[in-house]
Subunit: 337 residues, 2 copies
């Protein structure tokens, strides 16, 4: 694909052409390498659209909440892009996507772009594919991006690394708290939703969640955000307005304290970059692809028992990290150009 | 810890001091960095002990089979080291380890060294911790090493990368075949065990497994190993002698075709090394640890939207892989020394 094609594709996305956006997302899912040239063009043209991540264990009611949130933000006349991320294997993917059918009522709305993604084989893993999809969304001219993902496992934690505001959905059932601790969700949320508030024990569960969240978010001075805990019944829409208010308040908090948003973005992007390098390294050295001479050298050292695997890995990595900046940067990207 | 301490620790392991081995394994589990010096000393002194990996879905009867295999190999007067790998979180670890209590009857046998491992926080991930433990076992003077791991997920597939012979345990229940396909187990096994042969449908299940395995292991010439399918009732010990025969036959196959063993080891070690580099890279760049100047440079490029994350990752990695061999190798390890 020529540069001219990439420029045309990028132009269609920036013009808000939904068909072009859809085709580009499919190419991202299929790990079409020519898509990288389009992303390189789109990334500088992004408009820093607020990204709202919605996560939580299976069955917590994430899709119902997203459906309600779409309706609320549409009532505020916002144009939306929604990404439903399904990290499951193809064996279970269908069932999980089925839960999202209720969202389909928004599909006829020209101001809501909804896409499910279950990418495999992407150079940067699923989190990399999501990151690339968000670059496209950020450039297509919407007011807000919603990303829904199951908050179980490292992969999903990587995905919410892209969000400026993370909503963690829980239910009153006791097991979820343990799940949340395991998954690191009590550190990850900016807003906590205790869904299924019609279930028994909701007040006790919400209070326990309140305590757990406060314990993990010590208020260091008056400029720290204190994650609210909101009770909802998402299917009926009860409490969803309070979630929207919390989302807007979190954004206002960052507008008051822009250095906090900047620090968060830097921390997130650092983690994103680490994972992308690891994924690309793994991809390039998979058995189908020959490795470079340094890798071959150290592999031979290990095979001959002259170097232990840990020492060889450290040696390979030290060759990587001690390099000077000038050697890394391609000419086109060096400072001053 | 001084080099002298490392030398003393390595010497104790080589002398077969079980207490020293146990303490070293604990240090590996706890990610004690001083253990690397001991491993560097032990790795060249390893004796290429055959490693038998036993894997399969939860509940397939792996622990019962391992218990029986220990008894059979002991009857052949072999000295054994056994590693039961539990990749679960601390929340479920206890329960799974409880299944392994039956193995404890061998704990009083001075010629059987049994250890459970549920390492977290290791520089090379759980697979890295297992790889390090196997270096210790390989140097302690045993005749055979057994590694038991749940065959679900990438982590476990990494673990069996260390084994010269992999036994995949299945049961007649239909769901397991789908699980096996998903987990890539039908490519991974050298020997297949259809356990719980007293269950209904065992012959049909074994025949189906036979077909599936043959489909994935095309016999390219007469020197290819055809993975046998063995029916067992592991708790009662039925069929276990046939598993032992298959294990010995697989070893004899590699003695007849040593280039096959060499090629397998090279492929495995290559994958091990790739994963260790990725894990170490991730560890070094975790939020607690500052990154190098090249990483900082590219992070700034991405933050300023001058470079897309995928392009930055590729640039970082190309700086890594194009390096010459001489630049990587520490002086002490360069060829000719």
């Amino acid at each position: 694909m020529s540069d001219g094609d990439a420029e045309a594709d990028a132009g269609s996305v920036v013009a808000g052409n939904r068909r072009a956006v859809g085709k580009l997302l499919t190419r991202i899912e299929c790990a079409d390498p020519s898509v990288l040239a389009v992303l390189d063009l789109l990334y500088p043209r992004g408009t820093h659209v607020p990204i709202l991540g919605i996560t939580g264990p299976p069955g917590a009611g994430k899709s119902a909440l997203v459906d309600q949130l779409i309706a609320r933000f549409r009532a505020r006349d916002e144009r939306l892009a929604v990404l439903a991320v399904d990290p499951s294997s193809p064996f279970t993917g269908g069932a999980i996507l089925g839960d999202r059918i209720r969202m389909a009522r928004h599909n006829t709305d020209p101001n809501v772009f909804i896409r499910s993604m279950a990418a495999r084989g992407h150079l940067g893993g699923l989190a990399g594919a999501v990151g690339d999809a968000l670059i496209v969304f950020d450039a297509m001219g919407v007011d807000r991006i919603l990303v829904e993902t199951v908050g179980v496992g490292q992969n999903e934690m990587d995905i919410i690394l892209h969000a400026g505001t993370v909503v963690v959905v829980q239910t009153p059932s006791g097991g979820d708290v343990v799940q949340a601790v395991k998954a690191g969700l009590l550190e990850a949320g900016d807003i906590y939703v205790m869904n299924k508030m019609d279930t028994g024990g909701v007040d006790r569960a919400a209070a326990a969640l309140r305590d757990s969240v406060d314990f993990r978010h010590p208020l260091n001075g008056s400029d720290a955000w204190r994650p609210p805990v909101v009770k909802t019944q998402a299917v009926e829409g009860t409490g969803v307005d309070a979630v929207v208010d919390a989302v807007l308040a979190h954004r206002q908090h960052f507008e008051r304290f822009p250095h906090q948003l900047e620090a968060r973005r830097r921390l997130q992007m650092s983690a994103v970059l680490v994972e992308r390098v690891a994924a690309l390294w793994r991809f390039r050295n998979s058995t189908q692809h020959p490795s470079g001479p340094a890798f071959e050298y150290w592999l031979n050292e290990v095979m001959a028992r002259r170097s232990a695997p840990s020492a060889a890995a450290a040696a390979l990595l030290s060759g990587f990290t001690r390099e000077g900046i000038a050697d890394y940067a391609p000419a086109a990207l060096r400072p001053g150009k």
